[in-house]
């Protein structure tokens, strides 16, 4: 088990390296001169050159990359070209907002998704099933930012129940979390329903029925655990996507999260911030991926055996 985890952790390293190369290249190709942007309108050529040297921008591309990696390996991710603050401070001042939205959102989608999915499967062909299927079909095709706008209109503008923008207290997270959650939730409902229906057709469910197991117990003890397996995987994938994918939603609600940081940084060619953020998200999503597989193993003894073997 430990061996498996260590092996998986080691596998993250080449991925991070690959990402750093790709991003560094793209950022380098982005037009603009960070030093010029930083120095403002009035400057002397010497001052500009000095700033460039200070930021390491005068070196050739390859040397810049090596330096960056070398420093990063020593825990120094550099300073933001734009604000001159250490990159770490920049990233971590923004991160809690994104994490809060992601966290709230995943709870909403999993809880509602699984419950509705199960009910729809158990009561297949019922009115509830038909309605929930129709709604999920539409929800899966709605852009989250438009849901966000509509929710804003309804709850903030018309009803005045929730804040219109920004994060003053936790209520500010509700609408963005719901807006992000709905399309993902639609997929979770569809998946839960279809795997539940598949599982209910399995022989071991017939075996359980033939044993005289009551219907409720069949659903919750025999079927649910098996049906949850693909749901766990999808939920894991959703979390990693949301960590890097709330950019648009943050714009809708004016939330100072990772998304807005990324947009300003990319526009200003703030390479250190972009690199650190993306690599951080990538590491996180690899870890979440690993966690999903471990949960999977905890549920399914067959997977556990593979991991141990």
């Amino acid at each position: 088990m430990v061996k498996y985890i260590v092996k998986r952790l080691i596998l993250i390293i080449p991925i991070i390296f690959g990402i750093s190369i790709i991003l560094f290249t793209i950022m380098n190709l982005t037009p603009g001169d960070p030093a010029q942007m930083l120095i403002g309108d009035t400057y002397t050529e010497e001052a500009l050159d000095q700033l460039r040297a200070e930021l390491g921008l005068d070196k050739p591309f390859f040397q810049q990359y090596i330096d960056y990696i070398w420093n990063a390996l020593h825990g120094d991710f550099g300073i933001s070209y734009r604000t001159r603050n250490p990159v770490f401070d920049e990233v971590f001042s923004r991160f809690p907002h994104t994490v809060a939205i992601t966290f709230l959102s995943i709870i909403i989608q999993v809880v509602v998704g699984v419950i509705v999915g199960i009910v729809a499967a158990v009561k297949q062909y019922s009115l509830l099933d038909t309605v929930s299927q129709a709604i999920t079909m539409v929800l899966a095709s709605v852009p989250d930012f438009w849901i966000g706008l509509m929710l804003l209109l309804l709850f903030s503008v018309k009803l005045g129940l929730l804040p219109l923008s920004g994060i003053e207290n936790w209520t500010g997270y509700i609408l963005p979390a719901v807006a992000v959650a709905l399309p993902y939730m639609a997929n979770l409902i569809r998946l839960t329903r279809s795997t539940m229906l598949d599982v209910m057709r399995m022989d071991y469910i017939d075996t359980a029925k033939a044993k005289g197991v009551p219907k409720k117990k069949i659903i919750f003890k025999h079927a649910l655990k098996n049906a949850l397996l693909p749901v766990v995987t999808l939920a894991g994938v959703n979390i990693s996507w949301m960590l890097g994918g709330t950019i648009v939603i943050e714009q809708v609600f004016n939330i100072p999260g990772i998304g807005s940081l990324m947009i300003t940084s990319i526009r200003n060619k703030d390479t250190p911030v972009v690199m650190a953020t993306v690599m951080f998200i990538a590491v996180l999503s690899c870890l979440i991926n690993l966690a999903t597989d471990l949960i999977y193993a905890a549920i399914d003894p067959r997977v556990k055996a593979q991991i141990k073997g």
Binding site: T207, A210, K211, G212, V213, H222, N226, R302
Partner: protein, 330 residues
Amino acid sequence: MAEKLLEIKDLWVEFKTDDALVHALNGVNLTVNKGEAYGLVGETGAGKTTTCKSILQLLPERVGKITNGEILFEGKNIPDFTEKELEDFRGSKCAMIFQDPMTSLNPVLTVGDQVAEEIELHNPGMSKEDIDKRVDDMFKLVGLLPERKGEFPHQFSGGMKQRIVIAMGLACQPDLLLADEPTTALDVTIQLQILKLMKDLKEQMNTAMIMVTHDLGIVAKICDRAGIMYAGEIIEDGDIEDIFESKYHHPYTVGLFGSIPDLTVKTDRLNPIQGLMPDPADLPTGCKFHPRCPKCYEECVNVEPKVYQLSPSHMIKCHLFKDIKEGGNE
């Protein structure tokens, strides 16, 4: 006369799918006496599994429906049972073993739990220790080490899984065991071990059994009586002596025997039945076997044959026998 345990009277079952109405059972009559092993023989689609599932009321919801007939267990009609009565009936009075041991155990529960669940359900109030002891006993009985009860199904081979399924089926000493091709998925040497186990346990516990199979050899080894199924009907029914040694047979039974290569006699060619099983959504008129029957004549095409009683135990549903014995009963 032996005491009747199960009596199925004129059972009709339909499956309604999107594009067809499938006539799965078309008037099945069968009786199983206490402690007796009844073999239900037939090919794919004959309705053997549907018969078993009807007994336990396990037909797929919405799709499968009993349209006529009674299934009397100790005189009570099973389709009339309430949900609660059914739960009590299943497992404790009547258990079922499915064809494929690979898929009939829940992969995420330990095998011990799955056996214990059955005992717990039908013995409310039984202490944890007693249940545990009972599970151990069942494991020993089917030839497995009780220490392995904490393991999961994937850690066992096919033969051992089927032993677990048998342990589960017999854990509450049911009066009737439905075994749906329990050895088809297994290798011959393992099949023999399982058959021996089932025969021994059945005698030990005095459990009646319906053995569903396509293999007449298994019937010869295990059963006391047998019925041959074709297109949702039992077309011949009798003691195994009637089935294996009588000179009168339904032409389909003759064809079935002719299809099996005989180990003892050297034959040049087999004598198979021509043609294919009829489509259960579009059954032939008259006798359902007539399009494939070498002895088919006009009456067979138009008139459904009656069941003729050749001896007190032997029944054949075929026009050929109306002159051999008078007084066929419906």
